[in-house]
Symmetry: C2
Subunit: 533 residues, 2 copies
């Protein structure tokens, strides 16, 4: 355990929260408190006795507070080796300090408050990091607290250990301290670069865990939580099933993104990051059935996300208890903001199914990073749907509420599909939309259009639709980018498509619109491309 | 300019390189040198006079060297405001120090050398960061040098400015100093976490520049270079054309990855990150033609990478000077390890073509990062091709050199294509391979197979091949993952395919092999999946 009694503690905090209970607790344990000016005044008000740091250093607080703690006396008291250097310390009249409680000038806070540059500079703490780092280096004998939320637990530990700390605790505090100073200087460095017109970026991740492997079994892999994230994909709660794999996590992101912008009851069925099924309805079970019907073959082994708490009735769609095993619908992952107890019990019948909870709506995704060899692409997330809705054809694109609903659903869908992407969306009724067919990831847009139409036809035929072309004539075909040529329109016209959405903006828009007019197709320009790679 | 004369400098360096010329130069400019122990001995040997730091601090070097510089005297000399605090400094007998030259205990070096934990702890510098950060905070008056490679330029500046530094220089040095301490503590923090069995990760990027926009015009974007990278995609040299866009950079990565593992003359034609064309030959022009022929429609507007210096004869394939404009082959980006002067001159005819140089072979890509909402996936790059080559069918898969060449080419190709992926590769002759057709990014593998076969047929027909099925019978069909069912084999058999490569490992391998035997197809199990998302 290598227990060390805390006899003297140095308190120098910028954030005074939780200070008094800690100081009182330390005092009650017989610890001598040393304190700097502001911290000392707080102790005085609480009638907790302390030694002013000037009495220890022999120096005044000087230069507008820039010099308070930096001194041979404090540095030595924290750094000397309690065994090796004991005699030397005695000769030099250095008495050890066994605990540092310090938090730093709030550089981040004043930065976020929009402080001017001189104020920022004044808020770069020099003495604080010196004490923290000195104490941390000498963790063999010294403890360090850098966060006010840690005080209570620390004091409890101390009280239970007769005023002593264990080596394990001191080592944990040490690691935390170096993370703290690393974060602090990272923020300062970025801001100082910015002031010089240089852009630098420091990202920090923790809670890393090993994954069984990466995209393939010969690739070692891990998963980390971003330090600064309020809510992270790493916060997923696994209610049932094995640990998530690398590919699961990629697909979960795709599924979560796909349902995130949708209201009502939304369900995404994802395979290889692409939603091969997506639907929205007032009823969850109906939405799942509709999403599943977008590609009932690929849906096997898929990742499925719900934007609302998952109900038993919905989960029963998977028929996990069907006697005929071929009726059982195996999926890899089910994720929802909440899984009801009954749904969970039902899903647990399948050993290999992963059942996850995550506050999907709360997941912020303002920024997107993409790592390329030795470099990083950064971009704002693609959050907008359109910046105009302009009917550009002789046949007007409808603008009633029903049409708007399907337009928005179609744009949400296309935003989630990898480029080049085409999706056909259907309003099964006023309150129910689904992907009827989609084409993803094609070098050639025409092939994506073909894939979407073929899948839609296949789905309708399987469902026994009598008037396939008639139904396709009610669907909206959505393109993630403009049509470079009229060929896509001609292909769509042949299949009976009557409504097309696209950003517009090609030099050949005229001929594309002419092809629409020729085929009596209504076309809407949205003004916004949705490439996704 | 806010010039500041350097009167006193503090030298305390762990890395002694370039020290003496700097010290001599400072001395010649009349600067008083203050030095710690080891640095002082180096000065003494070089017969450069200096003041021992103990004479300034009034304290001994103590505790095995843990205490050398931390003191009220040094802290004050660096931190006091030369205007506001001048009188106070005089009262306290503090004389300013105007320059700190300091590099830190080599924590990283001893870590990489495999030092034990106590040695690592001893190599955490406390005094150094204190001096560096104090000098940096007070950059209004004080300069700081943290890297020996900066000494020479700094001295030259000083000599040209009559021993003075400008505010601009001091501010640059300040930003560098905080980057240095941020890097230092980042490394310590990660190592200390590791010691506790915790995994944390800190990534650092610099040289950030804004891109016109991200994947789409409504997304702001930037591109950064990774600090620790020896060679980065950000090191691309643009010889001609506009700045690279976000999507260009994504595609360049795809194109570079696709040619990187290939010998001979290799060319990749990339659209939306996927190589729709890839070829290898002994002749570069031939390779380009073969790669282009993989999808001559999608190739327009593509990104093209070469693994060897680009020659004029190759570049002329684009026919940028054709009188018939429809003959001109427009591509977005051409990248090669080198662009010959003649090729560059030719390519410059096209204003919008970007011509890039990068040492593609030298680009290391051992680790892959993937950012998900508030989290990070990390994996080893997919570098291996196969871990076995097992013929599993009645008809044996050939194992001669020619077959091996095409197998390796096919695996290189499939590794670069997004999943689910199928590629058909052809040996045009013993020394020339190409992608004949590929299917990428499909939720359903069967669709990928269909796409690859259709594209291959289309290409052969366009080329006027007489015996399409006969040629397909010589091609290798490569799957990035195992076949879950025999249907893919049946589809391939119908098209006349006789050779299939796949990892194997499905519970239905038996029925897949049986389908091969039925169709007299030879199948090779490679044992390695190549998912890419």
């Amino acid at each position: 355990m290598q227990l060390r009694k805390i006899k003297r503690a140095l308190l120098s905090v910028s954030d005074k929260s939780n200070l008094i209970p800690l100081a009182q607790g330390l005092h009650d344990l017989g610890v001598e408190l040393i304190s700097t000016g502001g911290t000392g005044r707080a102790l005085q008000e609480a009638k907790i006795p302390y030694t002013d740091i000037q009495a220890v250093t022999g120096n005044p607080e000087a230069f507008g507070g820039r010099m308070k703690t930096i001194s041979f006396q404090i540095g030595s008291a924290l750094l000397f080796d309690r065994e090796r250097d004991a005699q030397e310390a005695q000769n030099l009249k250095i008495e050890g300090i066994d605990l540092v409680v310090c938090n730093l000038y709030p550089f981040q806070k004043v930065q976020e408050a929009g402080a001017d540059f001189p104020t920022l500079i004044e808020n770069i703490d020099i003495g604080g990091p010196t004490m923290i780092r000195a104490a941390a280096k000498n963790f063999k004998d010294v403890a360090v607290l850098v966060q006010s939320s840690d005080y209570e637990g620390f004091l409890a530990e101390l009280q239970s250990q007769n005023g002593q700390t264990s080596l394990a605790l001191r080592q944990q505090l040490m690691a935390k301290a170096f993370n703290h100073t690393a974060d602090y200087d990272a923020r300062i460095a970025m801001r100082m670069d910015e002031e010089l017109g240089k852009k630098s970026l420091r990202l920090s991740f923790k809670q890393g865990r090993s994954l069984r492997y990466g995209e393939n079994s010969h690739q070692a892999a891990g998963f980390y939580r971003e330090n600064s994230s309020a809510l992270s994909l790493a916060d997923i709660r696994i209610l049932h099933g094995k640990a998530l794999s690398y590919n699961n996590l990629l697909d979960v992101q795709g599924a979560v993104d796909a349902v995130q912008g949708l209201g009502g009851q939304a369900v995404a069925v994802v395979k290889h990051s692409n939603p091969c099924g997506l639907a929205k309805s007032m009823d969850q079970r109906t939405a799942l059935e509709a999403a599943w019907s977008g590609d009932p073959i690929s849906a096997f082994g898929s990742i499925i996300a719900f934007n609302q708490p998952l109900e038993l009735k919905t989960a029963e769609f998977f028929q996990l208890d069907a006697e005929d095993r071929s009726q059982r619908k195996f999926v890899e992952v089910v994720i929802a903001p909440k899984i009801t107890a009954e749904a969970l019990e039902y899903l647990q019948q399948h050993k290999n199914l992963r059942v996850l909870e995550l506050d999907i709506a709360g997941l912020e995704k303002a920024v997107d990073y993409r790592y390329l060899s030795g470099s990083l692409l950064v971009q704002e997330a693609d959050l907008a749907l359109y910046n105009q809705q302009e009917s550009v054809t002789a046949r007007p694109f409808p603008s009633d509420e029903a049409a708007k609903g399907l337009v928005e659903f179609g744009l949400q869908a296309i935003k989630s599909i990898k480029s080049n992407a085409i999706v056909l969306v259907q309003a099964v009724n006023q309150q129910q939309y689904r992907i009827l067919g989609m084409g993803a990831g094609q070098p050639n847009r025409l092939v994506a259009t073909k894939l979407a139409i073929e899948k839609a036809k296949e789905n309708l035929q399987r469902e026994g639709a009598e008037d396939v072309a008639g139904i396709l004539g009610q669907c909206y075909l959505v393109s993630d980018a403009f049509f470079p040529f009229a060929d896509n329109v001609e292909l769509a016209a042949q299949a009976g498509i009557r409504y097309i959405l696209q950003p517009g903006g090609s030099i050949r828009d005229k001929s594309v619109i002419a092809a629409c007019d020729q085929a009596d197709i209504a076309m809407l320009f949205t003004g916004l491309r949705h490439f996704k790679h």
